[in-house]
């Protein structure tokens, strides 16, 4: 019997997306092909609906309507925004979807590709402390409307990407074991002939190489790092991981966090929260939720929390059990 690994790659949400389906049945080719095209269309639709960089998106319209009372929102925006508010509550406010103004004040007011192309536009606006601001968003479960205060704006970037990855993986799973990867937020459903999917773990300090790899039979991985999206702001370097408690770029002892969780959305949120909290509080956060992770400190020290499924380590890396 011939086994096949089908793959499809495209670009969405300002990142590369890959979909892999493993199948023993070549008669499924047409269905797999249709499924992959459906996956790409779904990513495109989510981006059109939830991107803060699209002025026509439902999210941008909601942000523009801030302070104008309850706004009926689309089912997708409602679903993801509710998930974001749940994540904010569950994380004690360390994850907060209302970071958009803080991000923009830090200079992340365009897609990162645009920032890299044109450089930063320095402003002297002070940081915005938003800790707990998510509580001021008032969703109406009956009308599916959202009352967004005038001084708040919502960003759903990471959580929307994880949500999309989870949905596409779930939808494609009947076709065979599937792996969906959107810029490092990835989800696996099923194993290929009993073999788990091998996934390289990027070295946070030398991104062109991997420091380890995991074999993932189920669940999801997501990585947050201060090393990727960072830029010069006056005399200092800033990055896109905002600490809601200060309104500025997080300043913990962690450089990179890769979390293994059941869902990509959960892993994405947890990686952000741990990166903001730092290794000590972040480890406690992970252990309380039964999540595992690979943490890299700013000094290069590495820690494994829980049962992180890494299987091989390249020689230059060192691991310590937390």
């Amino acid at each position: 019997m011939t086994t096949m690994l089908y793959e499809h790659h495209f670009r969405a949400m300002n990142t590369g997306v890959g979909v892999w389906i493993w199948s023993t049945n070549p008669e499924r080719l047409l269905m797999i092909r249709a499924g992959m095209r459906g996956a790409e269309d779904f990513f495109t639709s989510v981006e059109a609906e939830l991107s803060r960089f699209r002025s026509t998106s439902a999210l941008s319209r909601l942000n523009r309507a801030a302070g104008r009372g309850p706004q009926v929102v689309s089912p997708m925006l409602w679903t993801v925004l509710r998930a974001a508010l749940d994540a904010a509550r569950e994380s004690g406010g360390i994850y907060d979807p209302t970071v958009l103004h803080s991000l923009e004040r830090a200079g992340y007011d365009r897609s990162f590709e645009a920032i890299e192309a044109t450089g930063d536009t320095e402003t002297d606006s002070p940081p915005v402390r938003i800790f707990g601001s998510w509580r001021r968003i008032r969703p109406d479960d009956t009308a599916h409307s959202v009352d967004l205060p005038g001084d708040l704006a919502v960003d759903l970037g990471g959580i929307a990407k994880g949500w999309t990855v989870d949905h596409v993986a779930f939808a494609l799973a009947p076709l065979g074991p599937v792996l969906v990867d959107a810029g490092g937020d990835l989800r696996v459903v099923g194993t290929a002939d009993g073999e788990r999917w091998p996934i390289g773990v990027q070295d946070p300090f030398t991104p062109e190489r991997d420091r380890a790899f995991v074999r993932l039979g189920r669940g999801a991985l997501a990585t947050s790092s201060i090393g990727g999206r960072r830029w010069q702001r006056g005399d200092r370097m800033v990055h896109h991981m905002i600490d809601p408690r200060t309104g500025t770029s997080a300043d913990s002892n962690l450089h990179s966090v890769t979390v293994h969780a059941s869902h990509a959305m959960t892993a994405d949120v947890a990686a952000k929260v741990v990166l903001v909290l730092g290794s000590e509080a972040g480890t406690a956060y992970l252990m309380q939720r039964g999540l595992s992770a690979l943490l890299t400190a700013t000094d290069g020290h590495e820690m494994v929390v829980g049962d992180f499924p890494h299987q091989e380590v390249v020689p230059h890396a060192s691991f310590h059990c937390a």
Partner: protein, 142 residues
């Protein structure tokens, strides 16, 4: 090995962008027309935040994906009686198969499948030869 995977991914992405880019632009062109006039602005102000064409696109894509899943499940249950792949009884294959992953080919923006080594024996808990010779993808900082 990882570098090879990364290079493959990058190449595939670029190819797909070129091939799909025009389609995406055609579909989205109505949204890139001139700014609305005053009357259009008034109409838009009364429109709920989510009442957009994008919302309809989302439902179309979602209905496509879910109906596809239902179709496949039904097909597997009633047509061949074949169980899902994860639980499939894999017949022995006496034909030697390549152990290296062949380079993928593009057809209409979608890559052709890669031949992979077959499993050996019945219901193998783990194949004698690994299915994957290298990481399929890699984590990336975001």
């Amino acid at each position: 090995m990882t570098i090879v995977v990364d290079a493959d991914l990058t190449a595939a992405v670029h190819t797909t962008i070129d091939e799909r880019g025009s389609e995406t632009m055609r579909r989205s062109s109505p949204m890139k027309t001139a700014p609305p006039t005053g009357s259009a602005k008034a109409a838009r102000a009364q429109r709920p935040a989510g009442g957009s064409a994008a919302s309809g696109q989302w439902w179309k894509a979602w209905v496509l994906l879910t109906s596809l899943g239902a179709t496949v499940l039904g097909w597997m249950a009633f047509s061949t009686g074949e169980p899902p792949v994860e639980n499939a009884v894999v017949a022995p294959d006496t034909t030697p198969m390549p152990t290296q992953v062949a380079p993928a080919r593009h057809v209409n923006g979608l890559e052709q499948p890669r031949p992979l080594p077959p499993s050996a024996g019945m219901l193998p808990p783990m194949p004698q030869k690994p299915v994957f010779q290298a990481p399929v993808t890699r984590t990336r900082r975001s």
